[in-house]
Symmetry: C2
Subunit: 360 residues, 2 copies
């Protein structure tokens, strides 16, 4: 295990499309969305452990989720939980993590990994990640794992990649915004495009250099902290004062779309961002009924293509439903047609206005 | 208030068609089926209070429901809760209550009232009941309130009645078993038939006399207890030993279908036996959506003709359902098409075999 490998798990998201599973007080990454007995965050952490020491794994989250992170990852120290005082998108928090890690180890190379995705082929993921870490630790390179697309999805950004630079590492030609369906079909057919899954690998030095070059405004805020603040008791004070003033920009916009030293490794790793109940459903559908059932006592009679979740001590008896989401989260029950799940997010405003904040 | 008026509320039933609302440990009569904040038993008790003193109201129930009865009717003394050691149908328990009440007051007249029915027109009910009590206290008569039928229902027994004997009190010509639909239609058209709702009024003397005449086998069991057992500490001992040996017969079969001194008062009292979820539904349906909704936070979008019940502290968000029963009882959730509700009773065996007794 390379002693200069680090990881930053991004765990600040809210995932409101998974309501009522996901709540403001307990978002998606803290839930056992797959019925494995482990939260998505926990699975992300364990997926990294064969390559990166537990005490080199940082978790970036919102201040209010610090305790939840500690609960899910008891192996890590509180100092490894980096709490943002405000939600300012990915560029500021990656910059913060990079500065902190570089302060610990000037030769550090680290992976940025979302905490709320599913990766079914963990071995392949680690092979690709090892390649990326090795390449990034020896080159001035901004690397990303690009997901081999399996459908013309219009919900993701795409990575247009060129020739191999070394082994399976390819030069990136350009990043493309979410396409329309026709364009997405062309991307899929060409074989030259990958999904941008937000998995990045770089040396602390390279990413800081890129941020300074392409996002000087952002780095100007961090320049107020350059002398010996990181990994000391002054860090929190600095963050409280300055972090909220950083510009709200994504890491893609801040550096990936602008830099010329961007590389990708095409990765066929059984990836899903579990963006919606339907995507969770499609990951786990039973071949006979088309159902996905999470719960210990669920009697589903003439029930097909449904996603059913219930607390482990609850009995559900359900008859004659097709293509519904039925999620019982103890204090909330949702029964909703699957094909209208985009509307779930909108209904939350109605819930808030009618019944108050308690259920969000 | 006539000091010799008494009541016997029958509260031993199980009501398994209302599962999961109704359970073996807490049957229908202990539930707030109408969303009024009061159980059906409590409503039955309060309905009688203007005519009968609280300390003259007895509740017949199974031994295991004694505490529940006491909880719902804190006004009554434990000695007014008559626990059957076994479920032996209505004739034995009415015989027991009659003997006990006659021992307290040889001139007693009492009403037998089911605990799990709904009566919407309470004033009319009390007028009819007052008439029946008055008539029964002054005649050797077995009276019953007969419900004016509002549809050709094949689920009830019918009372064929003749000319008025006194005011609204009519002589009963005969009791008829549950009819087929064609016969039920004829009954309804003729205007000479009433539903048998199991509401009886008689003097203790008259009903004991009728039982001795028409059910000597049953009364032979009680003859072992004739000397000073009732309302003493020996009563329970006697019951434990002898009650389970009484024959399992209904009061209709034991006396009403055989005696000649049977009278009825046609009663248009907004009665429902709430036999099923659908009947509960038809009592309370909202005119616009056709829904019946019990719960504090229920958001029903494009939901019609559904019956929805939830704990008061639960949020339900439901979309696009028609004609379903959705009952969340905390530990059990039922989602079931309303037109198949007769099958709910059968599913309980599957629940028991698959998941054990805990949810019944």
């Amino acid at each position: 295990m390379n002693p200069s490998y680090y990881a930053v798990i991004m765990a600040g998201g809210v995932g409101s499309r998974f309501w009522p599973g996901s709540r403001e007080e307990k978002p998606k990454q803290f839930l056992d969305m797959l019925g494995t007995g482990k939260s998505l965050l926990r699975m992300t952490f364990e997926r990294l452990l064969p390559l990166i020491k537990a005490d080199h794994i940082f978790v970036l989250t919102h201040d209010k989720y610090r305790d939840l992170v500690a609960e899910h990852l008891p192996e890590i120290d509180h100092s490894q939980i980096l709490g943002e005082p405000s939600r300012n998108n990915t560029a500021p928090c990656i910059a913060y993590a990079a500065l902190k890690i570089k302060d610990l180890d000037p030769n550090a190379t680290f992976v940025v990994a979302p905490s709320d995705h599913v990766i079914l082929k963990e071995e392949t993921f680690r092979e690709n990640l090892a390649t990326a870490l090795q390449f990034a630790s020896t080159h001035d390179a901004l690397c990303t794992l690009g997901i081999t697309p399996v459908r013309p999805d219009t919900g993701y950004g795409y990575i247009h990649y060129g020739e191999a630079a070394q082994g399976t590492v390819h030069k990136v030609l350009e990043f493309r915004e979410k396409p329309d369906l026709e364009t997405a079909r062309q991307y899929l057919e060409s074989g030259d495009y990958l999904w941008n899954a937000g998995i990045f690998v770089w040396s602390a030095k390279a990413v800081i250099q890129a941020l300074e070059t392409h996002s000087p405004q952002l780095m100007a805020v961090f320049s107020t902290a350059l002398n010996g603040v990181w990994n000391t008791s002054q860090e929190t004070t600095w963050l409280q004062q300055w972090y909220p003033t950083t510009p709200n920009i994504s890491i893609d916009y801040a550096i990936m779309e602008k830099a010329s030293n961007v590389y990708t490794i095409p990765a066929d790793i059984g990836w899903s961002d579990l963006g919606t109940w339907a995507s969770l459903h499609s990951e786990r559908q039973s071949p006979d009924s088309g159902n996905v059932i999470d719960g210990n006592q669920i009697l589903a009679l003439d029930v097909t293509n449904c996603l059913i979740r219930a607390p482990h001590d609850k009995l559900l008896v359900i008859k004659d439903l097709d293509n519904y989401i039925i999620v019982d989260e103890g204090d909330v029950l949702l029964v909703w047609p699957k094909e209208k799940e985009q509307e779930i997010k909108n209904i939350l405003a109605t819930v808030r206005n009618t019944f108050g904040d308690a259920w969000l």
